[in-house]
């Protein structure tokens, strides 16, 4: 911290001139300690209506069975697995930001990791409900666990990627939850020590008695680092396993070795897009512009360019391999994707996922908040179409032309999907009301080294290379929360 030396030409991670440790606590806890704003109420009302729709549609599914969905004998997986893979993918950015960037010592993660981790938890909840719902008889979900039962030696098939999925998703969810909650302990203690009455009691129970003593901090950091170390391969394994649900089958368009890396890149791509969608709104509504700065937004946009490009290369590779393999079924599957009855889904996917992120090469656009927000939603839509294209276009024309069929979603399909978005946003909005959406302790760590005021102090002291200072000042012009006049 204090001994942390940073290059002057790096943009600040905390902007604002008079930020103190107390100010950070104050700013972060404002939405937790005060009555909700009008914007929050509007958002909460809309999303909880969505959540109610979800409850209704899922109850309907449980009551009448998955016959209420638009599935048929050919297309046995459609919006359910599309939604599942989409949500799991979205969840991955949280772990990436928390774990991988921690291991790489990328301090810019500190302001955004908390919301991203929360997003992971809520997205995986949405994904898991899809899986349970699509079983048809959800009360039989227990048989996906290897537990002794009354049917003799009847065990789950550990050779099946679907069972790998059960283990992967449940492990991912529980490890993410532990990672998130452990990281929250010091911040919950901060709320507790400022609260009164019943709130103090509740936060006191949830803070586990945290005091912030040196030994606790030391162990806390060890725990964070090791959890990051084990979560990093975990996140890669989870989406790899999800991709194997498809890749180990013999379905044309699925049976491909590129799926694991392609799915992982796609997951990070869609996850970062969702983090952008959430944080660009949250920073404004919660007045967190000094902590979630343009540098953070730009860094995430750069990751979106990278992962979007990887996904684009994967699409082209699939086509190339279909041609190069000489397998006519594979070739047909891909030609059918681009020119068949679902061409519109394919080209929506291509334009949203391959073309749109490339616009971020233009610095002016990737540092524009409104543009970033719109594009993040475009990417989310594109990634949903990607999963839809993979699943439905492969299934609807199988090896047997007599069974070829189209998939049309029912209103229950649509309601479950829209409802799951409602559930996600309801949980997220509740989260920002009761827990700090920025990891305070970790942001405080940056104040003395990476903040604007620390850098300004260095400039004022005058022992820096003038060309570096000039470069730094120029880079500040993009920050909406920096008063450039202070540097004139």
């Amino acid at each position: 911290m204090a001994s942390h030396n940073e290059s002057i030409i790096r943009e600040p991670l905390i902007t604002g001139k008079d930020i103190t440790y107390a100010q950070i606590t104050e700013d972060v806890l404002r939405p937790v300690e005060n009555m909700p704003t009008k914007a929050w109420w509007i958002g909460f009302t809309v999303s909880s209506l969505g959540a109610l729709l979800w409850v209704f549609a899922v109850s309907w599914t449980f009551w009448f069975g998955i016959g209420s969905w638009g599935l048929n004998k050919t297309v046995g997986w459609a919006w359910d697995i599309t939604g599942f893979v989409w949500w799991v993918g979205i969840g991955h950015a949280g772990t990436l930001i928390s774990a991988v960037l921690l291991l790489f010592r990328q301090n810019w993660r500190n302001s955004i990791n908390r919301s991203a981790e929360a997003m992971t938890i809520f997205a995986v909840i949405c994904a898991a409900t899809y899986i349970v719902a699509h079983m048809g008889r959800p009360w039989m979900a227990i048989y996906s666990l290897p537990i002794p039962n009354q049917y003799g030696s009847l065990w789950v098939n550990f050779n099946s990627p679907l069972i790998w999925d059960v283990f992967a998703i449940s492990t991912y969810f529980s490890v993410s939850l532990v990672f998130w909650y452990t990281g929250l302990l010091p911040d919950i203690a901060s709320i507790r020590d400022r609260a009164q009455g019943i709130r103090r009691k509740i936060y006191s129970i949830c803070s586990f008695g945290w005091t912030g003593s040196v030994k606790t901090w030391q162990r806390f950091e060890t725990v964070s680092l090791i959890l990051a170390g084990v979560s990093t391969p975990l996140v890669l394994s989870v989406h790899t396993i999800v991709s194997m649900d498809f890749a180990t089958s013999l379905e044309p368009g699925w049976h491909t070795t590129i799926f694991p890396p392609y799915f992982v890149a796609g997951a990070i791509f869609s996850g970062f897009a969702m983090v952008q969608t959430l944080l660009l709104v949250a920073r404004k509504v919660l007045a967190l512009e000094n902590y979630i700065t343009m540098f953070h937004i730009e860094s995430m946009n750069k990751i979106i360019i990278l992962t979007g490009s990887i996904v684009g290369v994967a699409y082209l590779t699939e086509f190339f391999i279909a041609w190069y393999s000489g397998v006519e079924y594979e070739q047909y599957a891909f030609i059918n994707r681009a020119t068949g009855p679902y061409w519109w889904a394919y080209w929506s996917m291509m334009s949203c996922n391959v073309i749109s992120p490339q616009l971020f090469w233009v610095k002016k656009w990737r540092t524009n908040i409104a543009f970033s927000w719109v594009l993040s939603i475009v990417v989310n839509i594109g990634m949903w179409f990607e999963r839809f294209v993979i699943i439905v276009t492969s299934l609807h024309r199988d090896y047997i032309p007599s069974s070829w069929a189209m998939f049309y979603p029912t209103w229950i399909d649509v309601s479950v999907f829209i409802g799951s978005i409602g559930v996600f946003f309801t949980l997220f909005l509740l989260f920002i009301r009761v827990l700090p959406s920025v990891a305070m302790a970790e942001v405080k760590l940056l104040l003395k080294g990476s903040s604007e005021q620390a850098k300004k102090k260095l400039i004022d002291e005058g022992h820096l290379d003038p060309s570096h200072v000039q470069f730094y000042k120029e880079s500040l012009t993009k920050f909406d929360s920096v008063d450039v006049a202070d540097y004139q």
């Binding site: 911290m1 065990w155 901060s190 008695g209 030994k215 975990l234």
Partner: protein, 178 residues
């Protein structure tokens, strides 16, 4: 006889606090503990705190998780109900890797966090024993056990010289909650 149990030096800057620790140590004043709102790197070495052994615990839990699930898979798929699918070997190790990996991570995470909570005496509902409410906000607190450490005025002046914004004499061990 003074009723002071703890002398607290409250700093608003971590560098000043580190300076305070050095000064106290130079004057042979033993430090009871230090409470901060964020981790301070390098303080462990100053206070002579040994490196955490949680990494070993994590490794052991990981080994336990991996071997537990591998044993379950072996028992179910190879011993209890081996299925002949196209004459393939039921002991299909590559197929066992994903789940073995998942449980290795699962046990590592849960085991290590449980060890962390146990070792630091943290558990749901535990009464917080804080020295000062602001130690989780913006104050960096050095706590000195007052018993046997006299004269207190000397300690006060050392802390103030080091830049403490406030020096408190607490007659209770902990100021809140209990």
């Amino acid at each position: 006889m003074s009723s002071t149990k703890f002398i607290l030096g409250l700093f608003d800057d971590p560098d000043n606090m580190l300076h305070g620790i050095e000064k106290l140590q130079k004057n042979s004043v033993p430090i009871y503990d230090v409470y901060t709102p964020m981790p301070i790197h390098g303080i462990e070495a100053k206070l002579g705190i040994k490196e955490s052994r949680l990494g070993y615990a994590a490794f052991m839990f990981g080994c336990l998780g991996g071997s537990t699930i591998f044993a379950i898979i072996y028992f179910t798929m190879v011993h209890d109900w081996p299925m002949n699918i196209g004459g393939k070997n039921p002991f299909a190790i590559p197929d066992f890797i994903p789940i073995t990996f998942e449980w290795t991570v699962l046990f590592t995470a849960f085991g290590m966090v449980a060890t962390f909570l146990f070792a630091t005496h943290l558990f749901p509902g535990r009464t917080p024993r804080v020295m000062d409410y602001r130690a989780t906000d913006d104050r960096f607190v050095i706590a000195i056990d007052a018993k046997g450490n006299t004269p207190h005025a000397d300690i006060d002046s050392i802390l103030k010289e080091a830049g403490a914004v406030e020096v408190k004499h607490n007659d209770r061990k902990y100021v809140s909650y209990e």
